[in-house]
């Protein structure tokens, strides 16, 4: 008895293995993919009908004797075909399975065949009622249970003699219901998984597309932002000037400018908008235009910065601010009048190696609408170097979070003070890159070097 249960279980297990492999292969065909997409075509219907018709025939052929009673999964194929493709595919698969069953004759041939046809038809109708979707796993499995119950009822109603029918049903009803429910569970599980996979893939593709589009937009933004920086450094006899800005992300908040004023004078500025990325870049665009307009209007440092502050403060709703060093150079007299609005103090290196830093003379722009700005003046002798920089330079960190630092920057300028401006700039840039040694650039980096005496 025990060995009989064991061998029967083994046969049932094998049957389920066939169902698993079958379900896996069929659901991965192009036809099935199209069906799951919701595309109706006669070709797909035919495919479902034939394939699940064959599964129905297999269900009959593979029928096993469970404790002496014949148990089969003939109805499974048509049920799945109906759930996948609708009543036409279900009915056709059912007819194939039923046709084969009729050919075998026997006293229960008619009710069994009717049950198989009904299985395909009704599951197809459920598919339609479910807005042409494969039903949920509980619905699919419940339907299999009810369908097999109906199958048993049909046998009792139609098969004669009744006593034999009753005898058969009382033996096979429970194993039939159980095995078909298990088969349906396997199909529904695999199909639901497939649909979930498909949905995940679609979402991923969607986000990837979105990401690519955003990146393309950021590249354009980067180009637009670069166009806000001076296209070329104005030619200033007796001075060599070099400047560069490297945003940490696609766009950044640093900027510099050189604005030609009347009487050969030039406005020189460097600025750093709070925060990074797109918000900083938008505020940078606003601030750089405000600076250009006010510089041309005033020709004078303190007035320029005061007006710019009023305008920028009015736009700073979210606490955005701009640290700025703004200077007007009279190249003939070597006189630099400046306002430092909360910016990292620029370094003025004299020819003899003594250095002066130009400290803040007012608060960062945008922070305080009533901010006051003092103007100071320094004389630039021949051989002097003025270095303007943003905090991305001095706060560049190595892997151990050690910052590049102001002292290192000062000594670099001191060592290279005999070089032209562009060489001093590239030297600093290389030293900062080497310091960060492969660590991602954390903040925007901007440098402007001016050397008196080209």
């Amino acid at each position: 008895m025990t060995s009989e249960i064991l061998s029967t279980s083994l046969v049932l297990f094998q049957m389920m293995c066939v169902v698993v492999v079958f379900a896996y292969l069929v659901t991965r065909t192009r036809f099935c993919a199209e069906v799951l997409e919701g595309a109706f075509s006669w070709k797909n219907q035919l495919f479902l009908a034939v394939v699940f018709g064959i599964l129905s025939i297999y269900g009959t052929v593979s029928g096993v004797s469970v404790l002496g009673a014949p148990v089969n999964i003939r109805d499974l194929g048509p049920m799945v075909a109906g759930f996948l493709g609708g009543p036409i595919a279900g009915l056709a698969a059912g007819l194939i399975g039923a046709g084969y069953r009729m050919s075998l004759s026997g006293f229960s041939a008619v009710p069994c065949s009717i049950a198989t046809i009904l299985a395909g038809l009704v599951s197809g109708l459920i598919f339609l009622a479910n807005k042409r979707q494969f039903p949920t796993i509980p619905v699919a499995v419940s339907f299999a249970v009810i369908m097999e119950g109906t199958h048993m009822a049909l046998v009792l109603l139609i098969a004669r003699p009744f006593s034999e029918a009753l005898d058969l049903v009382s033996q096979v009803a429970i194993p039939m219901i159980a095995i078909n429910a298990a088969g349906m569970f396997i199909f529904a599980f695999i199909i639901k998984n497939l649909l979930l996979e498909k949905k995940t893939r679609e979402e991923r593709d969607h986000f990837q597309g979105e990401l690519e589009r955003k990146n393309a937009e950021l590249q354009i933004a980067r180009e637009i932002q670069a166009s806000f920086l001076p296209e070329h450094i104005p030619d200033l006899p007796g001075y060599s000037i070099a400047a560069e800005s490297f945003p940490a992300r696609e766009v950044g908040g640093d900027f510099y400018d050189l604005i030609s004023l009347p009487d050969r004078r030039v406005a020189v500025l460097i600025a750093d908008v709070s925060d990074k990325g797109v918000p900083a870049a938008l505020f940078m665009a606003l601030s750089s235009m405000v600076m250009r307009a006010t510089a041309i209007w005033h020709h004078q440092a303190a007035g320029t910065v005061r007006d710019a502050n009023t305008m920028i403060a009015a736009e700073s709703k979210s606490g955005m601010f701009v640290t700025l060093f703004f200077a007007i150079l009279d190249p003939d007299r070597g006189q630099l009048s400046y306002v430092n609005a909360g910016h990292n103090p620029p370094i003025l290196m004299r020819r003899d190696g003594t250095c002066e830093i130009l400290p803040a003379t007012g608060i960062a722009l945008g922070a305080d609408p009533d901010g006051t700005y003092e103007e100071k003046t320094v004389m630039l002798e021949r051989g002097s170097i003025l270095l303007l920089y943003t905090d991305g330079v001095t706060e560049a960190e190595d892997v151990g979070h050690r910052q590049f630092g102001v002292d290192r920057l000062i000594s670099l300028v001191k060592e290279s003070r005999e070089f032209p401006a562009d060489r001093i700039l590239s030297g600093i840039r290389e030293a900062v890159t080497a310091h960060a040694a492969g660590a991602p650039q954390f903040d925007d980096i901007t440098l402007l070097v001016m050397r008196v005496g080209s």
Binding site: G277, G319, M320, T323, G342, A364, D368
Partner: protein, 123 residues
């Protein structure tokens, strides 16, 4: 070698007449939004006296300054106060460079900061 933290821990607690916000770690572009969330929630929830304890704040970038400035502006608009307490020397330097030490009320310790809010409330 001490490794600087890369995160910001924000702890909120009610102390006397003020809401105390403890910032611990590093306040930069990546971490400042967490502090901003706390500040926004406090202000929108009706808090008018906020004391920010900076005793364990190791680093602040301009993104961090922006968040504090934004909170200061919002509070000023509705008659509230934002005070800072216990700034480490490096943090104080960042405030000084930007000129923010003249904008914020900065106190050496939390208790002084809270006392000051009591005084302003009493007056």
């Amino acid at each position: 070698m001490t490794i600087m933290s890369t995160v910001l821990e924000v702890t909120e607690r009610r102390q006397g007449p003020a809401d105390l916000l403890l910032l611990k770690g590093r306040m930069d572009a990546a971490t400042a939004p967490a502090a901003e969330e706390h500040l926004t929630r406090l202000i929108e929830g009706g808090s008018r006296n906020i004391v920010v304890d900076c005793s364990e704040l190791e680093y602040i970038s301009s993104a961090g300054l922006r968040v504090l400035l934004s909170a200061l502006k919002k509070l000023k608009q509705c008659g509230g106060h934002l005070t800072l307490a216990s700034l480490l020397p490096e943090i104080r330097k960042v405030f000084e460079i930007a000129g923010f030490h003249r904008l914020f009320a900065i106190f050496p310790g939390v208790s002084e900061a809270i006392d000051s809010t009591e005084r302003t409330q009493g007056s």
